[in-house]
């Protein structure tokens, strides 16, 4: 077992490669009585075209398929016994799909081995029949309606469509109702065979458990499985232009204030060449300095009555990063005009930079407070970087002011798309 120490945080996780090649990450602590188990597949909604490397033609994936497959794998019908076991253990089963991957999880406190076994059984032995796929469609459509009714998720979805021409963010993780109609048991079974491959999966266990016992069981379980076919997958990604597709759009909504989204599309190759993790931290610090409550811009907009609230989000998509600024405004046109000018003139100062480093360090320390947060740290790093970044503390403390100035200079804030509501 390889110990991966998180420097300066006095925390470690353990990594082991099972006999069949699957990676397992363990964070064991007796500070809690519960445990959290996840089986993860490095396949998410970002994959729209792929082929086995030995194959000739690319297969197209219907948007929403990764999420649909997740529903079918966690479907009670066909897995009544597995779910009865989960229920009898008093555990909670759940799953989620993102652009980068799919996560199946169990949260419990009794008999971790039985929990592991049942979760693996569900993921490794799915029952995706024509009938069950057809019945699931109405449930997924209700889920789509739920998100479409939420003004904020609806606008996030729309601005991605306005920022991108061809790349995967133009599709929702859930897909559209018209996509769902087209999905079949055949298409889902094919995706399953190609992506739910031991070499493309990993397990994370956090909480109160015995590491040796868990590893012993996992090896025994995996040894009983047929040897996996070894093949590689080639994913075809659309070449996405650097410019934005739609500069400005208004959406009608019956509300007095206006919700404004301002998205800046940043090509990664235009940023100074440095480690991508550092780049992400610099961008986060820059955005935080510009748009958090402690920023001078926030203060100015509040003072002038331009905003009710202001926040930001950074999203990573293939070759582009999106800085998304979100505001609720009673004077949206004036706010947008000001923002367009101010964002270009903003200059971060060294005091602010050092203060923000403290904030990011504090957030990092707090990650290890909760076993679900630790799992999320591990899983998101593996989905995003395919490795564990254990020196985050040092990365943050070593960030320097010159580099962030260079990043700030390299961004073209005019490469943006605006989406707002009007009454």
């Amino acid at each position: 077992m390889e110990e991966i120490k998180f420097n300066n945080l006095y925390e470690s996780i353990f990594h082991e490669k099972l006999n069949n090649g699957m990676d397992v990450y363990l964070y064991s602590t007796n500070k809690t009585k519960n445990f959290y188990i996840t089986v993860n597949v490095k396949y998410g909604a970002e994959v729209l075209k792929y082929k086995r490397t030995s194959g000739k033609q690319y297969n197209e994936i219907i948007p929403g398929s990764a999420h649909f497959l997740e529903h079918k794998i966690m479907d009670i019908l066909g897995h009544e016994e597995n779910f009865e076991t989960i229920h009898n253990l008093g555990s909670f089963a759940n799953a989620y799909t993102s652009y980068n991957g799919t996560n199946y999880n169990l949260f419990g406190s009794e008999d971790i081995i039985k929990n592991l076994e049942v979760l693996l059984d569900l993921v490794i032995n799915p029952k995706i029949t024509k009938e069950s796929v057809e019945s699931e469609k109405s449930i997924i459509m209700e889920e789509i309606d739920k998100y479409k009714d939420d003004i904020f998720s609806f606008m996030y979805e729309q601005i991605r469509k306005n920022l991108f021409f061809k790349s995967y963010p133009i599709h929702n993780v859930l897909g559209e109702k018209s996509d769902i109609e087209k999905i079949s048991s055949n298409s889902l079974n094919k995706i399953y065979k190609d992506f739910y491959n031991i070499n493309n999966m990993f397990i994370v266990v956090t909480g109160n458990f015995n590491k040796e016992e868990v590893l012993r069981f996992l090896n025994e379980y995996m040894d009983k499985l047929p040897k996996p076919n070894k093949f590689n997958i080639k994913i075809k990604r659309e070449k996405e232009p650097d410019k934005v597709k739609v500069l400005y759009e208004e959406i009608k909504k019956d509300m007095e204030g206006s919700k404004v989204l301002y998205g800046v599309k940043i090509p990664k190759n235009k940023l100074p060449k440095m480690n991508s993790i550092k780049n992400n931290y610099y961008l986060s610090i820059l955005a935080n300095s510009m748009f958090s409550v402690s920023s001078p811009l926030y203060e100015k907009y509040i003072e002038e009555g331009l905003i009710v609230n202001l926040t930001y989000l950074i999203m990573n998509f293939d070759e582009h990063i999106v800085l998304l600024i979100e505001a609720l405004s009673n004077k949206p046109s004036e706010f947008i005009n000001n923002l367009q000018k101010d964002i270009k003139n903003f200059k971060i100062d060294e005091n602010t930079f050092n203060r923000k480093k403290k904030v990011f360090l504090s957030n990092l320390i707090m990650t290890f407070e909760d076993i679900e947060d630790v799992e999320n740290l591990i899983t998101s790093q593996l989905f995003k970087y395919n490795k564990i970044i254990n020196n985050i503390y040092n990365i943050i403390t070593e960030l320097n002011f010159e580099d962030i100035k260079a990043i700030e200079k390299s961004i073209n804030f005019d490469n943006s798309s605006i989406l707002r509501t009007i009454k």
Binding site: T32, A93, E142, N330, K358, E369
Partner: protein
């Protein structure tokens, strides 16, 4: 984990000593009997106290101070619990053993500043900050219209709990805010220290030395405070059972319909209310194979999710789900049938063990979530819940007969649907 309570003339201080957390939380609760007029005052006061203070006289300065204190979290919220209202103001800071020794003193000084040195000018709150917060609240109230989940939730509560504290939206109304001015709000602020019961709950990895630092600082803060003796508050709201069912259906410009059904219980005793209702609700909707989930989602594909929540103070259960409007009658019938099924001993017996085990996991989670722990000990001040382990023991003793007996006491009180006009 160790708990102790220290009583002083003007406040009680509760220490929860646990090495589970890397942060220290200090929460101050001001409690009194509910008064409708207080909603807008208390809500606005929470906003004002977290916006500025005399020393940190802009939102920006206050936010910068929080970042300097290693991202100290500071918040304030107004809530209603049965017949009582409370204002909670709290800070959370990283245990100084991970940052700097002086952070105890710095964090406590910050708490003193924001609570005891508000942004007052000419015997009233600062006008400009007052106006900003009033505008923000009005915008928030208006935004509710485009949020079907929140809008329908508040509307349902106003029907189901008409004439009680639970019926009111905790955001207040625009009309109520028109009646407040900075001086009146300052007068309301002063009542915090006269008319409210004060409880301070401290949770964290604290040795005697640290406890004493906090106790001395709190004693110093409250040395001039002399609150009136507060009469004991009976949190439970009394109802006369009636066979009349309120049914309201209205339309909204949404894709999905929001269905709510409210049930009350007649002649419920204290044991049923405190313990049996928890298990009843778990079997109805909280466990993975709950009665409602099996009926509406698994067997009839009517919804993505269905939930029920208990309200002890109103002796009620609320069931809600997002559905397609064409399924209204079917969903209502299935929910009624599910409530009937809660009186079937065979059915309850088949799920009781799962519910008990699930609750066992949830109770374990109390020790992992500082906010649940704080809330538990605050509630204990009014409801004599006993220790968490005593509560676990009582819950684990509940039988299927107890659940069925409670089930026979349920009667339908309200049906509300916000019908999606765009379906």
């Amino acid at each position: 984990m160790e708990y102790k309570k220290i009583t002083r003339d003007s406040f009680n201080i509760h220490f929860i000593k646990t090495d589970r957390f890397k942060a220290v939380n200090i929460d101050i609760f001001f409690t009194k009997k509910f008064k409708k007029e207080d909603i807008s005052y208390a809500n606005l006061l929470c906003k004002m106290l977290t916006y500025t203070s005399k020393k940190y006289n802009t939102k920006n300065k206050l936010a910068i101070k929080l970042e300097e204190l290693y991202s100290l979290k500071y918040g304030s919220i107004f809530s209603v619990r049965g017949n009582a209202e409370h204002i909670n103001l709290g800070i959370e800071f990283i245990n100084p053993k991970y940052t700097e020794e002086g952070m105890y003193k710095e964090s406590l000084n910050f708490l003193k500043e924001v609570l005891f040195n508000p942004h007052i000018e000419k015997n009233g709150f600062n006008h400009k900050i007052f106006d900003i917060n009033i505008e923000n609240l009005k915008t928030q109230i208006d935004t509710l219209k485009v949020n079907p989940e929140l809008f329908s939730f508040f509307k349902y509560r106003s029907i189901m709990y008409e004439g009680t504290p639970t019926a009111y939206s905790l955001l207040g109304t625009e009309f109520d805010y028109e009646k407040i001015n900075p001086k009146k709000l300052y007068n309301f602020y002063k009542t915090l220290f006269k008319d409210f019961k004060i409880d301070i709950i401290v949770a964290g990895d604290l040795e005697e030395r640290e406890e004493n630092i906090i106790l001395e600082a709190i004693e110093d803060m409250f040395k001039n405070i002399k609150p009136k003796k507060i009469k004991e508050i009976d949190l439970y709201i009394k109802y006369k059972p009636t066979s009349k069912v309120k049914e309201v259906i209205e339309k909204g410009e949404f894709n999905q319909s929001q269905l709510y059904m409210g049930y009350r219980f007649k002649d419920i005793n204290e044991f049923e209310l405190k313990y049996v209702l928890v298990i009843y609700n778990a079997i109805l909707s909280k466990i993975d194979n709950s009665v409602l989930f099996e009926s509406l989602r698994i067997n009839n594909y009517l919804c993505y999710s269905i939930d029920s929540s208990k309200n002890n103070y109103n002796t009620s259960i609320t069931i809600n789900s997002g559905i397609n409007k064409v399924n209204f009658n079917k969903a209502v019938d299935l929910i009624k049938k599910s409530i009937e099924d809660m009186t079937d001993i065979k059915n309850i017996n088949s799920k009781l063990n799962v519910a008990l085990k699930t609750l066992n996991t949830i109770i374990n989670d109390y020790y992992d979530d500082v906010y649940s722990l704080i809330d538990y000990y605050y509630s204990n001040e009014f409801e004599a819940l006993g220790s968490i382990e005593e509560r676990r023991e009582k819950l684990m003793s509940i039988t299927a007969e107890d659940v069925v007996t409670l089930g026979t006491k349920a009667y339908l009180s309200t049906i509300y649907m916000l019908e999606g006009a765009n379906e």
